[in-house]
């Protein structure tokens, strides 16, 4: 296929990705160094109240937005350098908190709080997801042929459900005296409030995430299990390998590429954790990096969006993604060069 045909086939897709992914990235990068503000001017306003003989008049200075000739509010955009980053990172406060050794003071700063949660969330759910996924895959593989279809159908439900709705549905089971909280209270004999402190909310969020993504791991690994070489399994039996040894030395090495694939996807997706914060309405206790950017973008009470701070926090989020992707991308590049 020559270049022109290739370009004709791929062109529309590449164009859309450039226009809607690459261009916004650049514009976010640029925006993060600028601040757009409404121009205010100080005007003296004289307010008079009718009085006897003479009016009582007071003049006071107020700042009002300047309205341009076309009827729009004037704005200025100025270069502020790294100011927006400093506003998001609050390095001064963070440093003070760390110096005084106060972790809780450090965790009052939104960005560091979000970073802490995002990283713990990603790293804790990863092994749980792989473990549960592998477990389910092995169990489906063990089950009777006729049962597999329905089991896969049920397993797909948590995966396919809208993330916000999935989080909400778990939320409703625990909210207040929800059915599962009530069950736990009955079992432990204590009063339990799942949404009163941060760690229980985090626990629920992780539970939800594992519930939501484990089916994906399970189905991918189940497909991989179908291609395990049965001859090598049989020779392992003859050599006296136990069930566990067969799993450990034959099945898992065979599934390793798939496990890496699932882990990669999971890392990318878990780092973007967002819907959980919405679904569990946990913003009072727990926030994630992507939620932080989202929150800057949502108009505040005065209707202003802090675009530049959102851009700064977005760029900082990007750094994490880049670090996450460097290792696998280098591997792919080596494979590609080796393959040709």
């Amino acid at each position: 296929m020559n270049f022109r045909t290739f370009a004709a086939f791929v062109g529309p897709s590449v164009f859309m990705m450039l226009l809607f992914i690459a261009f916004p990235l650049i514009s976010v990068f640029v925006q993060s160094f600028y601040v757009t503000q409404t121009v205010y001017e100080v005007v003296e306003v004289e307010t008079c109240t009718p009085g006897f003989l003479t009016q009582t008049c007071t003049t006071e200075k107020t700042s009002v937005p300047v309205v341009g000739e076309d009827g729009h509010v004037l704005t200025t955009t100025e270069f502020v350098g790294l100011q927006s980053y400093a506003n998001v990172l609050e390095l001064g406060r963070a440093w003070d908190a760390l110096k005084s050794g106060s972790w809780s003071a450090f965790q009052t700063i939104d960005f560091w709080k979000a970073l802490r949660f995002t990283l713990t969330f990603t790293l804790i759910t990863l092994p749980l997801n792989i473990g549960l996924g592998l477990g389910i895959a092995l169990m489906i593989n063990n089950a009777a042929k006729a049962a597999r279809g329905p089991v896969i159908f049920i397993s797909l439900l948590p995966f396919i459900i809208t993330p916000v709705i999935g989080a909400l549905s778990i939320n409703w089971l625990f909210r207040g005296d929800g059915i599962l909280t009530a069950a736990m209270e009955w079992y432990s004999g204590r009063d339990i409030a799942m949404f009163a402190q941060a760690w229980t909310i985090e626990l629920l969020m992780m539970l939800y995430r594992v519930w939501h993504v484990a089916p994906f791991a399970a189905i991918v690994l189940y497909a991989g299990l179908q291609t395990v070489n049965s001859d090598s399994l049989e020779s392992a039996v003859i050599d006296g390998a136990s069930r566990w040894q067969r799993l450990r030395y034959i099945v898992i090495p065979h599934l390793m590429p798939l496990i890496i694939f699932v882990s990669m996807i999971h890392l990318m997706d878990a780092y973007r954790v967002f819907e959980e914060v919405v679904g569990f309405s946990s913003q009072g206790h727990v926030i994630s990096l992507q939620w932080l950017t989202y929150d800057f973008l949502v108009p505040d009470q005065a209707g202003n969006r802090s675009i530049s701070r959102a851009s700064a926090s977005a760029m900082l989020t990007m750094i994490g993604i880049t670090l996450l992707l460097i290792a696998p991308l280098r591997r792919t590049w080596r494979d590609h060069k080796g393959g040709h």
Binding site: M1, F3, T5, F6, F9, V10, S13, M16, M17, F20, I21, F23, P24, I26, S27, V28, M139, A143, F153, I154, S155, L157, P158, I161, T162, V164, I165, G166, L168, S169, I170, W172, I179, A182, W211, I219, V220, A223, G224, E234, V237, L258, F261, V262, M268, Y271, R272, F274, E275, V278, S281, L289, T293, I307, S311, A314, T317, M318, I321, L329
Partner: protein, 384 residues
């Protein structure tokens, strides 16, 4: 030999199967439970006793309930519909659809089936049960409390049908455009082994990892001010892109594009290249080969990818909630708004009903397309 060597002891099989059943319960329970909750009065829905939630005494006391007869009738109707869909529908489509347009036959068949289902469930069933319940005594007495008032509140009073239409517009747009653009690109990438193609795929992979909020931070100022910078090109009536479904469709298509081209590429690689080479030998150029030879055999892959595009557009919260105004809001952001406003338990149950309404189409989707979804999940993965 092989079966005996691999045979597992009974205890292991029992453990494995019971754990699998436990997983199925965990997987289905939250969805099942919110479905049950959505049909009860608030007092029952948030009762601490599970039996009260299921049987709904409060709901029954208010006169909303179903009898054993109703349950039997419903079961019968669902069984009949299921049999009709699984047996009758395919054979009818096969015999009546014109040869060249089987998909049209399926479309009409599905629409007709939906109509029959609606008439049976909402037209025929209530009439039958109303007529028979008083006659049958204990068999016709209410046993389970059940009310559909929350669904009425959501869909009629809260304007959820409007959100539903918006969701429909956005998802239909995203699926159509992203498949059109993605199919071409996926084919091009699958048939070209050049380094450029490799780099496009790698960059697409990086793009796939981007948090969507990063991208939205880039769109927002541009979209809000679009009437200004579009004015030199489009003149006076340049649109403000913010709040327009069209803009959101374009954004979601682009966000979805990396995933789409990776998936379609792996499907196209499964179609032997000899097929289009043969067409080229017969004098087709690349586009003719694509249209005449590849298009007829690519549908399984395209349907699968379309399903995933549908899911992305349907499930999206972040992009739609930030880029659409209240009038064009889709279902998922709308429910989040409902949930924040909640003050009473009634509002909560209404939100539950909305959540179930959003989940129901997905449930049907899995039921119909389970095989395609599984093949889609494994297509990208098994090949690495």
């Amino acid at each position: 030999m092989s079966s005996r060597a691999m045979r597992q002891p009974l205890s292991l099989r029992l453990t494995s199967n019971s754990l699998l059943i436990l997983w199925c319960v965990i997987a289905a329970f939250p969805i099942f439970w919110i479905t049950v909750m959505s049909f009860k009065t608030p007092v029952d829905a948030f009762d601490a006793n599970a039996l009260n939630v299921i049987f709904g005494p409060e709901t029954r006391a208010k006169g909303h309930g179903v009898s054993l007869l109703d349950i039997c009738l419903l079961g019968l109707a669902l069984w009949g519909l299921w049999r009709g869909a699984a047996r009758l529908l395919p054979s009818m489509v096969r015999s009546y659809a014109p040869a060249g347009a089987v998909w049209l036959g399926w479309l009409i068949g599905a629409a007709a089936f939906g109509l029959v289902a609606l008439v049976t469930l909402f037209g025929l069933l209530p009439v039958l049960s109303n007529a028979l319940n008083p006659v049958l005594g204990a068999f016709g007495a209410d046993v389970i409390g059940l009310t559909t008032e929350h669904y009425k509140t959501v869909w009629i009073d809260r304007g959820f049908s409007n959100n539903f239409q918006n969701s429909l517009v956005v998802t239909a747009g995203v699926v159509t455009v992203s498949l059109t653009v993605g199919t071409l690109a996926g084919y091009g990438l699958a048939r070209s082994g050049s380094t450029l193609a490799f780099w496009i795929l790698i960059v697409a992979l990086v793009f796939r990892a981007l948090p969507h909020s990063v991208l939205v931070a880039g769109y927002l100022p541009v979209f809000i001010n679009s009437s200004e910078w579009l004015a030199p090109i489009l003149g006076e009536n340049a649109p403000t892109l913010y709040g327009k479904p069209m803009a959101v469709i374009a954004v979601l298509v682009a966000i979805n594009q990396p995933f789409t081209i990776w998936m379609l590429r792996s499907f196209f690689q499964n179609i032997p290249a000899e097929l289009d080479e043969a067409a080229r030998v017969d004098g087709c150029n690349h586009f003719q080969a694509f249209r005449r030879v590849i298009m007829p055999v690519m549908w399984p892959g395209v349907i699968t990818t379309g399903l995933f595009s549908f899911l992305l557009a349907y499930n999206d919260f972040l992009v739609t909630s930030l880029l659409l105004d209240a009038q064009n809001q889709t279902m998922v952001p709308a429910i989040a708004g409902m949930f924040n406003r909640e003050t009473t338990t009634t509002d909560q149950v209404v939100a539950v009903a909305a959540a179930v309404s959003i989940t129901a189409p997905l449930f049907i989707l899995v039921m119909v397309f389970q095989r395609q979804i599984v093949s889609g999940l494994t297509a990208g993965a098994v090949k690495g």
